[in-house]
């Protein structure tokens, strides 16, 4: 199998993600790691909460990775996304792509995170001192 897509309620293991996509045929690996920032638009964030519509999120991520294999000569693609409560600095998402040559790895990795943020049914709630906000819900 050349694709691994998982949602996790516990801390993501970045090294294990990288190890999974590495192979003797790959020469370049691009990895994107999304972490929880301590502030958004100047306001201090206490923590994040991620919620996923799990079967549909997996299905949409599978579509994205199929598009990637159709468009770029990549070897292995991994997407791990957290759900639940995340503290500042924790890893929310790991996307890792291996390829024989680096251009494909970079472009595919960027495409996956950009598309994930548009189509995959996962929601992020930012919790502040004085309230909480579902990100992007309102205009």
């Amino acid at each position: 199998m050349n694709t691994q897509i998982e949602l996790h309620t516990e801390a993501l293991n970045v090294q294990a993600c990288i190890d999974w996509v590495m192979s003797p045929e790959s020469g370049g690996i691009d990895v994107f790691i999304g972490t929880v920032r301590n502030a958004t638009q100047g306001k201090t964030v206490q923590r994040l909460e991620f919620e996923a519509y799990e079967p549909m999120a997996i299905s949409e991520l599978n579509k994205i990775t199929q598009q990637v294999f159709a468009q770029w000569p990549v070897q292995k693609v991994l997407v791990h996304h957290r759900t639940g409560v995340l503290q500042i600095g924790e890893v929310a998402v790991v996307i890792a792509v291996s390829a024989a040559h680096r251009a494909a790895a970079f472009e595919a990795c960027r495409y996956i995170i950009d598309t994930l943020k548009q189509t995959v049914p996962i929601w992020k709630k930012e919790v502040f001192d004085d309230g909480e906000v579902w990100v992007a819900a309102h205009p």
Partner: protein, 80 residues
């Protein structure tokens, strides 16, 4: 026809729960489900946008619904 609708993110707050039962009068389309929900829950119309998913696929407005479908309201996503 009565359908069950799953809610996520802010839709869960708007509906007051992670799933609601909706009685559809008139046609059985996604468009009718949306207008029925918007009448009952006006805050839905204040969202930047929202989609309906049927059986884990984004649905267009003309898709006919059945009582056995898994139907979900998908407010603007914000993963990653």
């Amino acid at each position: 026809m009565k359908v069950n609708v799953l809610a996520f993110g802010i839709a869960k707050d708007i509906f007051g729960g992670s799933s609601i039962a909706v009685e559809l009068t008139g046609d059985d389309t996604t468009a009718n489900l949306k207008s029925t929900l918007e009448t009952a829950y006006p805050r839905l119309k204040q969202l930047a946008s929202y989609m309906v998913a049927v059986n884990n696929e984004y649905a267009n407005d003309t898709l006919p619904l059945s009582e056995r479908d898994e139907i979900a309201i998908i407010p603007p996503v914000s993963g990653g």
